[in-house]
Structures are given as structure tokens and as C-alpha cells.
Symmetry: C2
Subunit: 192 residues, 2 copies
Amino acid sequence: MKGVLIVLSGPSGVGKGTVCQALLNKQPGLKLSVSVTTRPPRTGEVEGVSYYFVSKKKFFELLAQDKLLEWAHTYDFFYGTPCEAVEHVLNQGEDLILEIDVQGGMQVKQRFSSAITIFLYPPSMEELLHRLKKRASDSPEDIQKRQHWAAKEMQMSTQYDYVVVNDLVENAVSKIQAILTAEKCRRMSKAQ
Amino acid sequence: MKGVLIVLSGPSGVGKGTVCQALLNKQPGLKLSVSVTTRPPRTGEVEGVSYYFVSKKKFFELLAQDKLLEWAHTYDFFYGTPCEAVEHVLNQGEDLILEIDVQGGMQVKQRFSSAITIFLYPPSMEELLHRLKKRASDSPEDIQKRQHWAAKEMQMSTQYDYVVVNDLVENAVSKIQAILTAEKCRRMSKAQ
């Protein structure tokens, strides 16, 4: 049976990266899809592991060749998911997770209708705004942009298959693990 | 939010009762729906806990009054689920499990489209036939009837939302728990 493609999405600042990393630690069979981005690396990010860091020129070439499953323009940067890598992993029967923003999530669902889309929800809007402010790497203008954007992103949760509240990372992780288990039982039904 | 109604179904002999009981022990918030039946009690079965044991006359009265959510005629006996009890539990926000045969499962799905239907699958057809033979309470004719019926019942798995293989009771239980967790996240999405 083909692997399951999970799209983990949610507003900026909700903790997608932290939940995704904790999930990968607890679910050894699950692979992380690595995106390409024109954003410069943050401290500690590693080429080919965190992202493939590319120039704008290179990014537009990939787009022109239709080699991106989804792409997004957030703030001043571009992000995208290379198609071939995704298909290769799923065809080998391995599960794959994409940690992307809501624009990208909806694009993936359109092209991969079998993708499982999960929207990570903050415990409250106040908590989300608080988390955005804590990001030391962002300037005040960036924080304000992010807050405005996060409010818009929250409205997209109804388009997702599942909503998981990120109250505690371990709770969110075990819920996503349950969703993955359940989805495999769902596919068993179609496969009989 | 309303409770989740789980329909646990599968062929005769697959171990629905054992899995259901183990699940109830591990999931304290989950209630078991108690069916009415015209079958005489087996050793150890308790009135109002295992079943409500009723006469054929009483069963037909319940049917005539449309007080059964589903009913089935298996071998020589009738089984049914009282509507009011199911609705009462769900409206209180509690989850409920119905352990019923495949005829009943499909009837419930028709009336309660939000019911989650799970088909319990044997590890193999050989194993299922072996389990049916081991039931000391059945006569050889009963066993043959059951085997014939089980083969027919197996074909219904594609009509169910989920398939769970009952290889080990604890595996089956943890998969059903995962399905319940996932379904609550699914409803969160619709509720936003």
C-alpha cells in the first residue's frame, strides 16, 4: 500500500515546527518532506535538512518546470515542495509529512486528494499573538505582519480534514499519531 | 459537542465481544449500548448488562412501535438496539459503542450517518473458521451455519469506514482508540 501524505498546517506561530519535530522523533517510519525556500537560513538551520536554500532565480526555474507540488509567497520569501521527492517516498510505502502554511496546504489537497490535511490550532488567539511576539528573530514590523496574517490563516481551518489543538506538544503529537493510525485503517477498508 | 457513536461489527467468531470488552476497560468515557435479544442467555451473561433478554412477542411490539434503531434475525434469534438509549447517551456528549452484526451495522449507518463504522477483520479466513469451531456452546449444525454466514459477512467490509484486523486484542483496541481520537479531531474541523 502507498504511504500516507500528511499535510501539517496552521497559522504562523502556532508551533508547527516544534510539533513536527517531536512527531518525527516518536514515529520513526515517518519522513519529513524538505522544502525549497528563498528565505535566508536562521541560526541552526541546515541545508538539505531544514530546507533547500535557493536563490529567487532558481526558485522561478523550478516553478517554470512545474517541479513544485505547491508553493507560497509569505512575507518577502518563497517556499515550495519538490514533487518528485514526495512521490518517490509515497510509492515506497513510506509516510511523509509536509509542514507548510495554509496556502500550500490547500494546493497540495487539490493535487493530492488522498493527502490528509491537519490544521494545528492554538489554545487561544491570545496565546498565538503572545507566541508571535516572543520570536526574537523578527522585527516589530514583521511581528505585526505575522499577526495580521495569522488571523486570516485561522479562518482556513474549516477546509482541513482534522483540527488538532496545540495545547501541549505531546498531546498534539499523540493526536496526530492517532490520525495516522486511523487513516491506515480507513484505507484498509477501501483496499478490501 | 455530541458524543461519537461507534459501530463495531464483523463476522461471527471474529472476536467482537472480547475486543469490545477490552476497549471498554481501557476507555472509561466510552459506554456500551445494550441490545435486546430473543436469544436465551449464555452462561455468565447478565440481564441488562449483556443484553435485555425478551420474548419474541415483546420484541415484535418494540419493532411495531419503531423503538429499535436496528434489528437483525441471525440463526434462530432476534437482536435489536433501543433508539432512545442511544440518543440519550450521545446528547449528553458521551461516546457509545454498538457491538452488532453486519446487517445491524448498515441499518445504523443509514439512520445515523454520523456513526463511525468499524469492521473487525480476522487475521485470515482459516483463523476465523478455527475460532468458530472452538465455540463449545454451538452444535455442529450451528457451526456450519455460522461458517457459511461468516463468509457472506466478510464481503461487507468495504461498506465500513474503517477496517481493523483483530490479530491481537490489544492491537485492535489501540487502533479503535486511535480512530475515536482521530474522529474527534475531524469533528473539531467541522465545528470551527
